[in-house]
């Protein structure tokens, strides 16, 4: 999955594999401080832009995926 690669590049580790249920608690290095860097990496990779309210509502990878899909398809 492309998103997996973004995670691996962002947190500089090859052993990360995310699923829709993955959240910050499950990934070392993904914390409240680095969260926005990750979001920015995702935006750059998929050439999309999230709205502030959308970002605030992300609880896990699944939420992000749904939003990415919506933006990539429009």
């Amino acid at each position: 999955m492309q998103l997996n690669n973004v995670f691996r590049k962002c947190f500089k580790r090859q052993d990360i594999t995310v699923s829709p249920e993955t959240s910050a608690a499950d990934v070392t290095g993904w914390d409240s401080l680095t969260h926005m860097i990750l979001i920015n990496d995702i935006e750059r990779h998929f050439s999309i832009k999230f709205k502030l309210m959308e970002i605030m509502k992300f609880n896990n990878v699944g939420d992000m995926l749904a939003c990415i899909k919506k933006k990539v398809n429009t």
Partner: protein, 485 residues
Amino acid sequence: MLFNSFQFLLFFPVVTIIYFLLPHKFRWIHLLTASCVFYMMYIPVYILILFFTIIIDYLAGILIENADEERKFRFLIMSVIANVGVLCFFKYYNFFAANVDLLLHKTGGTANLPLLNILLPIGLSFHTFQAMSYTIEVYRGNQKAERHFGIYALYVMFYPQLVAGPIERPQNLLHQFHEKKKIDYDNVVAGLRKILWGLFKKAVIADRIGALIDPVFDNPHNYSSLAINVAVFLFIFQLYCDFSGYSDIAIGTARVMGFKLMTNFNRPFSSKSITEFWRRWHISLSTWFYDYVFNPLVAILRSWRKWAIVFGLLLTFFLSGLWHGASWSFILWGTIYGAALVYEFFTQAVRRRLFGMLPLWLNHALSKVITFTFIALTSVFFRAKTVTGAFYIYKRLPGIFSELSTSKSAARSRLFGDLDKGALLTCFLLILLLELTHHKEGKEPLDMFVGRQPRAVRLGVYFAMAFSIYLFGVFTQRQFIYFQF
């Protein structure tokens, strides 16, 4: 009204008993009235400020919910401006005017802004923040607007947490006022236990330490460096016991009636980093700043990447410092914390590697000592009142080395000349007791631990604590430190 007063000793049981005697539909009126009475014990006319912000935010909540995307934001801004405006006027106007004055004088101009004789309304910093969390959460769609005006007013004014927090969230508190609470033995006991412990921390530990070290902080020139070091070490415990004691009384008071307030402190001295410290100290405030300032700010600036985080941390903690007080000491205190967090952010990997080389117990112990030292040293800004005063204290701290190296016995007798030996010993024993309970809390919530003991032990503990409060407690109406915010 102060929690550590005989007025409250009467107020609390009367309010609680009437609460449970009344049918549910009248309870909000009773609690709201009681909260007004509680507030008006300070400066009655200031209740108008509360009414003003309550009306604005009540309307804003409904308007936000019904509006379209664009107008939603406008109504939110209206609410934020009203709350921040009131806060700025009553809390920061004089500080602003005095500094503009100073700047004008230094640049050869003349002062124009009058200084107003305004007394800070009690709890202003707390209830305005709690009100803003309501309108923001309605805006974000996480909270339905409250249509019942009385219940909304009660959310802002609920007396246990009105004047010094915990700063609640609508998702946690608002719905509780709609629920019919039955008198529950476990709630009453847990609540009373919490009040007892909070009162013990405040009236016995905090106020005893305060009585001992106040003269040192007020006139450090008259004291040895050894005494100043001891005072600085003790102060952070005074601050903790004072504030967490208040929070415990607030949480316990609410619990007796069946209301659950959020935790405000979670063994902050076991923090292994400053980042962790802010997850354990004044949790309701740090989460407020995280959710409503830091996170959105960094989200908006996310293309700056690391620098968004740096800017976010510095600005958020600058504001947090400012929230604590309209003075350069608090601003400096906040900014220092911002810088410390930036440091931790940049050095996270390196520190993990370095400390990882140590055996785990040493890693943790060292981290805790370093963190505690930083916290204790920066807390001087809370006490010293001015930046110059704080730096004088810092200047005197290293003097301990020369005092101890010349003659230990001379240093010792100087210390016991400065600070009463008996009082000093009492304070250290109380701190030991405090840390033992914290250590126990690490394994099991204190409440559960006490609850498990045989009845005789429990009653013994309660009686000992109540008696200590009566015997050792300082009841010369020492203000809670956080009341000044």
